[in-house]
């Protein structure tokens, strides 16, 4: 069924099941996204895609809110821009965005300051190097949930990782914090493929960054671990 709504003053037709993000992108309007990925189920975790919908008390995440007949949507109102800037500033105050060029570009675009919250506690943890294929550097993790989703029923159905902890302590982890080779992980790296911030990285790329040469990597023993019998 086709409906009509208004986005930024422009009338537009949409299918009933389409999200505001899809409709806006079809119009050529750019709404920024971070946790959203075309290959995973949208969950509206990061809220960077929020838009203002008339009659709604709070801002609405465009990645999951469906287009409705007669909706009046503003994608870049002052309230929206302020919310996005604050989200970016909160991210920058707690995590390492050095390998997230897209988010850095958003910060420039929205004029977000890196020291808006100077007293914020940073989420820092050591790099986890426990398997031959990829490393996990959760200092760079913004909890977008994509890795958990592709490990579960968005792709692999392996269920090796999930959210661990509560509130500020929340981190992506394995059950009982066991090492990756002990989990059901099949080392497919779907998680690495969707990570937006470099928190998950192929081991070989990581070693090169550490200054180890390609020749040395080719002969190094990258930690032989017995595969656990299933």
């Amino acid at each position: 069924m086709t409906i009509t709504l208004t986005i930024d003053g422009q009338e537009v037709n949409a299918e009933l099941e389409q999200t505001l993000l899809e409709v806006a992108r079809e119009m050529g309007k750019e709404i920024p996204t971070i946790c959203f990925h075309e290959a995973t189920t949208a969950n509206a975790l990061c809220r960077i895609c929020v838009v203002e919908v008339e009659g709604q008390r709070v801002l609405q995440p465009a990645c999951i809110v469906k287009a409705g007949a007669g909706m009046q949507v503003r994608t870049r109102s002052e309230k929206v821009v302020r919310a996005r800037r604050t989200i970016l500033e909160m991210l920058a105050s707690t995590m390492d965005l050095s390998e997230a060029p897209e988010i850095q570009a958003m910060m420039r675009e929205y004029g977000a300051s890196t020291d808006r919250f100077p007293d914020a506690e940073r989420r820092e943890s050591a790099v986890i190097d426990d398997n031959p294929m990829y490393i996990r550097d959760y200092s760079k993790c913004l909890l977008c949930w994509r890795c958990v989703q592709v490990c579960a029923d968005d792709a692999q159905y392996t269920f090796a990782i999930n959210f661990d902890g509560r509130g500020f302590e929340t981190q992506i982890g394995t059950f009982f914090d066991i090492s990756i080779p002990e989990t059901s992980c099949v080392l497919c790296g779907q998680c690495v493929g969707v990570c937006p911030t470099g928190a998950l990285k192929p081991k070989r790329e990581y070693l090169l960054e550490q200054g180890i040469s390609a020749g040395e990597i080719s002969i190094m023993n990258t930690g032989r671990k017995q595969r656990k019998a299933k």
Binding site: H37, E38, A39, S98, E99, P101, N131, P132, M133, Y134, V150, D153, A155, Q156, Y157, P181, V186, L187, C188, G189, Q190, V192, G193, V194, G198, P202, K203, R204, E205, L208, E209, A214, G215, I217, S218, I219, N221, T222, G223, R224, K225, Q226, R227, A229, K230
Partner: protein, 719 residues
């Protein structure tokens, strides 16, 4: 953060799924692999091999200089040389001249029947087309084969007999359109990981029902509606009993049978004996489950069958595949989207190498070699005098080696294959290899077979050459070089052209043409005669591959086959008999050994054991059921000796319910405990495929220090 110098789009070199790869290159080194999320084959997903397992390209053991054996090898006394000291480095000219001299010498003395070649399902279509052209056009022999003989020959022959085609009838991504699908003889999660994701998606997101028919409790069983754990080698009675139920309960598709098939009446008569109770007695699958599975498959709106080597790798592999084809004909689950008969092809380009005619009975495009009309077409294409090409059927992979003796095969050219790991009954294979008078290896590693050679020609892996692979969907996709070949290594098709021209000048014959300036010219030459590929150009498959048949330059490709008719006209039912496996368990050898692959490794291990993948799965293991292990006093991780009538290996046991009682499983990747030392070389009478999936073995406890030293094997021959 490393910034790539370039990102090169190519196709994965491992299994037949054919996933798109983006190779991120920095300083001529691939440091990362990603995949586009809009790829129609893999939708942004990869497995551990595709995403991480390409580093064998840079392994220091890779051979990148032409090598010639220091001591001249003689037939009957040929030995393996793993150590570099036994070889001397040669120039390309010297190595190529030597190959041409020796091959021509043997050909002039002993004729066409002394010559044979193994093509390579890992190499490109272009490489394979040229290799069979060289042997057919110059040495006038059809002794051309490759590992398709060892994987899906049973399925290919069965599909040829029943339909006239020999590939998957539908694409793998259509699995989400199935209402019911059968997965049998395929551990899809480990061998075609990306197709297994689509199967799981079909079940969890699209409401499809999956029936797994397999001796092992594979991962897919967790997602299946039913699991029928049959004894290895009892496919025919189980599938025929399903057909029996479908006929008895009148669940057949009468319209389809009348319009599209032949041989129905003879076929249903043959079903009388195949009652579910009879099948239960042979296979161990409860009769009630056979009935239920038959009803589920027959009553579905759209149903498909996906199968792997558990069907074909038997001494009655052709009959096993025919039993599945009969089911599809009975119910009409073929010729529409979301239905079909789908043998999941193993190698990245086994479909392509077969399409290119690297088989002893067929020219490119499955044209029989014993048909003079087909011969005339290729004589014209290759500038050969009329009647010049051989009408004689060639020898198959296994036969080529068993004919290696005085008066038989004298020389063998191996491109990229490793028969000393992949043939059955390796102790016998070794004796045959020793009998060869001259052996050429064109490869990237000095593997167990190349070590027997006189000359080693250093070739290139997928990431150093341009060309095409044809995946299990019949989709022809581009392969692109990420960087130049390492060292002095050369691209395979160029090596073949160099050898061929030297042979022509020594034979003093008119040229069949070898002066290609790029691989696309090679594909065009083949497509001019093979109409399936007629409409494929590199330009058309630049972004997304085309699914053949593509008969002309505007044709969009053919994802679903047999929508109107079968290539042979009507689909042919085949009446079948139950033939037991060649070697049944006995008191002396009470276990059935079945072989296969694991997720982290590939076949003979040339690639994956020289890769970081070996760290993820470093040693051979034999899977044993807890009930069997307890009787034999074997605990998880214990060293055991597994012995058959032909050989023995020592390796650690994994005690697991993944295998069934009375069945042990060994993957065949590990040279230090090669499963194929044990396997039976009994062949299927029609397809000549060996019985890798069932032989009789005994298991004994062994000592820790009896275990072979994998590190010694892996370190030998530092090149």
């Amino acid at each position: 953060m490393i910034k790539a110098d370039r990102v090169v789009t190519s196709t994965c070199p491992y299994c037949g799924v054919g996933c798109a790869l983006q190779l991120h290159v920095k300083d001529d080194y691939i440091f990362k692999v990603t995949t586009p999320f809009d790829s129609p084959v893999n939708h942004g997903n990869l497995c551990v091999k595709g995403r991480f397992g390409y580093d064998y390209i840079y392994h220091p053991k890779r051979v990148t200089t032409p090598l010639i054996r220091r001591t001249r090898q003689e037939a009957g006394k040929r030995s393996q040389a793993f150590d570099l000291s036994e070889w001397r480095e040669a120039t390309w000219d010297e190595a190529l001249d030597y190959v041409a001299d020796r091959l021509v010498e043997i050909y002039k003395r002993d004729g066409s029947d002394a010559m044979a070649v193994y093509a390579c399902a890992k190499a490109t279509n272009e490489d394979n087309y040229l290799l069979q052209k060289m042997y057919r056009a110059l040495f006038r022999t059809n002794n051309v084969d490759h590992c398709t003989r060892l994987c899906h020959a049973g399925s290919v022959v069965a599909l040829q007999q029943a339909t006239g085609s020999s590939a998957m009838s539908n694409t793998a991504s259509q699995v989400i359109q199935n209402d019911v699908f059968i997965v049998t003889g395929s551990n899809t999660s480990e061998n075609h990981p990306i197709i297994s994701l689509q199967m799981k998606e079909a079940v969890r997101q699209h409401g499809a029902k999956m029936i797994v028919i397999d001796p092992r409790r594979i991962e897919l069983v967790d997602f299946a509606e039913m699991w029928l754990p049959l004894k290895p080698g009892t496919n025919v009675p189980v599938f025929s009993a399903m057909a029996h139920v479908i006929v008895r309960e009148n669940l057949v598709n009468h319209q389809f049978i009348a319009d599209r098939t032949e041989g129905y009446n003879d076929f249903i008569e043959s079903l009388d004996k195949f009652t579910p109770e009879y099948a239960e007695k042979i296979s161990g699958v409860p009769a009630g489950d056979i009935r239920k599975a038959a009803r589920m498959y027959a009553n579905a709106g759209k149903a498909a069958i996906y199968w792997g080597m558990g069907i074909s790798q038997l001494s009655h592999g052709t009959a096993s595949a025919l039993a599945l084809i009969n089911l599809a004909f009975l119910t009409g689950h073929i010729g529409r989207e979301g239905t079909g008969l789908n043998p999941l092809r193993g190698q990245n380009n086994v479909q392509g190498a077969s399409d290119m005619g690297c088989m002893p009975f067929h020219y490119p495009g499955y044209m029989r070699v014993d048909n003079p009309e087909n011969r005339a077409k290729w004589e014209k294409a290759w500038n050969i005098e009329e009647g010049g090409l051989s009408l004689k059927l060639g020898l198959t992979t296994t036969e080529i080696l068993s004919h290696a003796h005085e008066g038989g095969i004298r020389s063998l050219y191996i491109m990229g294959e490793n028969p000393m790991m992949s043939e059955p009954n390796l102790n016998e294979t070794r004796k045959h290899m020793e009998q060869l008078e001259f052996l050429v290896a064109q490869d990237i590693f000095m593997n167990e077979s190349g070590a027997f050679a006189d000359v080693f020609l250093p070739a290139t892996p997928f990431a150093e050459k341009d060309g095409t692979f044809s995946n299990t969907d019949r989709r022809v996709q581009r392969v692109r070089a990420a960087h130049a070949p390492r060292g002095q290594a050369r691209v395979d098709w160029q090596i073949i052209c160099d050898v061929a021209q030297r042979i022509e000048s020594r034979l003093g014959v008119a040229s069949a043409y070898w002066k290609y300036s790029n691989p696309e010219e090679i594909l065009r030459e083949m497509g001019n005669v093979n109409s399936d590929y007629a409409g494929i150009t590199y330009d058309r498959i630049d972004k997304v591959g085309l699914i053949y048949p593509v008969p002309d330059l505007t044709h969009p490709g053919t994802p679903t086959l047999f929508t109107e008719s079968f290539p042979r006209g009507r689909g042919k039912f085949h009446a079948l008999d139950y033939v037991p496996v060649n070697e049944e368990p006995s008191d002396e050898y009470p276990f059935i050994l079945t072989t296969g692959r694991v997720l982290e490794h590939w076949h003979g291990g040339s690639m994956t054991r020289n890769s970081v993948l070996n760290d993820a799965y470093p040693e051979a293991r034999v899977e044993m059921h807890p009930a069997d292990a307890e009787i034999h006093g074997i605990r998880n991780g214990d060293p055991v000796k597994v012995q058959s009538r032909r050989g023995e290996v020592i390796l650690r046991a994994t005690v697991t319910e993944k295998t069934s009682v009375g069945v042990v499983f060994i993957p065949f990747h590990f040279a230090e405990a090669a499963a194929n030392l044990l396997t039976n070389d009994a062949l299927d009478p029609q397809a000549k495929i060996p019985e890798f999936k069932a032989c009789a073995v005994q298991v004994f406890s062994a000592q820790e220090n009896d275990l072979p030293r994998a590190d010694v094997i892996l370190n030998r021959g530092r090149y």
